[in-house]
Symmetry: C2
Subunit: 447 residues, 2 copies
């Protein structure tokens, strides 16, 4: 739906809610995709949303609820009773239900779980609530279709008929033994292509990547991406099938990770959006601004030690921005290349020694080019002595910034901090100080 159409529809819906025009509301929404309806409801007040919910089919309401933004949903659910929430949960996939209930006050959560009609499902949701958000257990849903290895294709299809009622997307059929241990998978395609009396054990595929509940979401992403899987089964330590992670959830993880990396690289310390409040936006930005400020003040104190040199050669001050900017740029480039290499674990074949040699060679090459260009320029505009100081300092800054930029993300990664931090204000602040130290030391020595 285009933005203009949506805005028009929102206006019409507001009017229809006021005049209680049921027919219009039902006609306008019942055939829309849940995600489109969620986008529209995001722009209506809570009471209007609740009125609209009373008119739509239960399944659609549950789907819309899963698609709402976390903040909107929290506000929205306040006007529903625990009984009503429990009713929606009966229609919601277990992983979404766990996420939704996780965002509720404990009292509402417990009441809703107790009031659900599907006992088996509420137990599954309770199990899912134990897992952290960012591990395989927190991503998986318990809805899946499975077949016993000893069944025939005919039995299998009958079972699928029964199980598929409550599974929105089948994608693949998991093959288990009598104790629910996962043995492999068989595709719907293969089942359709096989004779009725073929046995599952003769057509199933044994090779299937799995994860355990405690696997980190990064590992889940890596496996599903590497093996082009639409769904990844989750097992416990014994190999018992517990659930599956579907690709749509993994795509959300990938885009969230990328957004988080970009924020960390920009010195934003909380997950914020342009729509958040002025206070939240400021609060997320101030920590790194203050760290940068402290770096700047330390720099000021440091340059202060060289006040005499500056009084002698005021032109030295001209090149301070060149030195600090070059250090920052080189440092961020270096760390980004390392962060990227850390993310692609497949590039494991180069030894640390070879890597370091390459970093140094690239730094020498870039350092020589930049230092020479600046030297030529300065021959025209500054005296020879200063030109020499600036270029020697620049070359040293490029070398050192390359090394810190390369080593910092590796260290961060080792101590389990997101290495993307090294591609942001962290490295520019450090390199500003490093650059000033080099510049003024070189000047002090050569003057």
């Amino acid at each position: 739906m285009s933005a203009e159409l949506t805005l028009e529809l929102i206006d019409q819906l507001k009017e229809a809610v006021e005049t209680r025009d049921k027919r219009f509301i039902i006609g306008a929404l019942q055939n829309e995709h849940a995600v489109d309806i969620a986008e529209i409801l995001d722009n209506l007040d809570t009471d209007s949303c609740k009125y609209i919910f009373t008119l739509l089919p239960d399944q659609l309401c549950a789907d819309v609820l899963s698609q709402l933004e976390d903040d909107t949903r929290r506000d929205f659910l306040k006007v529903f009773s625990s009984k009503e929430i429990a009713h929606f949960m009966d229609y919601t996939d277990s992983d979404d239900a766990a996420d939704i209930l996780n965002g509720q006050p404990v009292k509402v959560r417990e009441e809703a779980l107790a009031l659900m009609n599907h006992r088996e499902k509420s137990n599954q949701i309770i199990d899912l609530l134990h897992y952290e958000d960012d591990c395989a257990g927190g991503l998986m849903a318990t809805e899946l279709v499975k077949a016993n290895i000893n069944w025939s294709v005919k039995q299998c299809i009958e079972e699928i008929r029964r199980q598929a009622e409550r599974v929105e997307k089948v994608l693949t059929v998991y093959v288990v033994d009598d104790t629910e241990i996962l043995l492999g998978r068989v595709s719907l395609k293969k089942l359709i292509l096989s004779h009725d009396d073929t046995l599952v054990k003769d057509i199933y595929s044994r090779k299937i990547p799995t994860v355990q509940t405690y696997y980190e979401e990064e590992q889940v992403v890596e496996i599903m991406q590497k093996y082009d899987m639409e769904a990844l089964p989750v097992v416990n330590v014994q190999g018992r099938l517990l659930g599956r992670i579907t690709i749509d959830d993994v795509i959300d993880v990938i885009t969230e990770q990328a957004e988080l990396d970009r924020q960390i690289m920009s010195g934003i310390s909380e997950d914020i959006e342009a729509d958040d409040s002025v206070w939240m936006l400021s609060r997320a930005r101030l920590p790194w601004l203050i760290i940068g400020m402290i770096g700047g003040l330390l720099g000021a104190r440091f340059i202060g030690f060289f006040e005499e040199d500056l009084t002698l050669v005021p032109a030295m001050a001209f090149f301070i921005p060149l030195i600090t900017a070059t250090g920052g740029n080189v440092g961020i480039q270096s760390s980004t290349i390392v962060v990227q290499a850390l993310a692609n674990s497949s590039t494991m074949m180069l030894s640390t020694y070879q890597r370091l040699l390459k970093v140094i060679l690239v730094a020498v090459l870039n350092g020589v080019v930049i230092a020479s260009l600046v030297f030529c320029f300065n021959l025209f505009f500054a005296n020879f002595h200063l030109a020499l100081v600036v270029s020697v300092a620049l070359f040293s800054v490029v070398m050192l910034a390359s090394l810190t930029g390369t080593i910092t993300p590796i260290i961060l990664d080792k101590i389990n901090i997101n290495p993307a931090l090294a591609s942001g204000p962290f490295i520019t602040t450090t390199n500003d100080l490093l650059g000033l130290a080099i510049y003024f030391s070189v000047a002090h020595l050569l003057f």
Copy 2:
């Protein structure tokens, strides 16, 4: 497979190739996933790879070929004749085949297409070769399963049996009319759950998002992500079904885009990896280093105009790094928030006026905090006059850097340049100069 296991296997395979130990090679590889074999072959020389290829089944070889890195594949295919390449293409999905042939010299490409056994398929590949890499046409494969709207479920399943032979993953069955116009879709699950004599027209779902061949890959990603689709059908202007884009290709697009954004934000101007040559790594980094250098030299010339002020108050130089660093940090934070908002087109409801007001409020808040902290600090370490100059300049820098950081990505986006460019050295270089101009102007006025 773990890294250690892989390294051990590579050594064993090298030995087995030398001793022509066919049995070991076949045993070690034939049950591995194509992507694992591709990773292993990446570490062997081309002749060994070719020998191993002669031992593996054709389908597996074709799959491995699709999974190889572009550079490796180009080198690797040089030792095969056009006839042999054509043979692999007969076993490769049309989208991968088009990508592989696209990387070949024109002569090899034309010969391979002419020598393929499957005439229909080579024609489809020729069609696909016309599309740009980064549009829907360039992402789609022609392999899919479709059913006529007038068929019964029984007819439909028989047809699927026939068509599914050459389609690795069915995912969904597209419903078309007699002229191949796409009308909707029906899931395998629904087919299995329905009676044999039910008509497709009574069970298919009409609402299905589609794209045309010229859609940009960003639009494809947005649609598939929004509607949680495993496959997105591609149609021509008349609505005729041409192919489908599968989710694995879209995930690759998402991760490539994220990587590209990170590189652009870090001032890296080409798509490089840590494994690339020293020369390539330098070349990708020099452009932005040189632009930063020019900015630094302009800054030097600019400060030069105020040499007299500096001789009078050398302490002014102390705060240059603080001013430039703050401008850079604020600018990058602001632009990242805008870039993120531009990517999430759903946040369209705030007017430009409201947005701008919010940006200004956040800037005022952050500016007041930073300027006050620095002022307090400077009261102890610098004279009152200089403290005032620095804080007034800092506040102005925060305000102006917020505005340039907010406006630049919007302008870049409007003229179809990746707005992430504004979260990198582009904005830090601009803001360095802006900051210096403000600082020295304020100083000149207030001293």
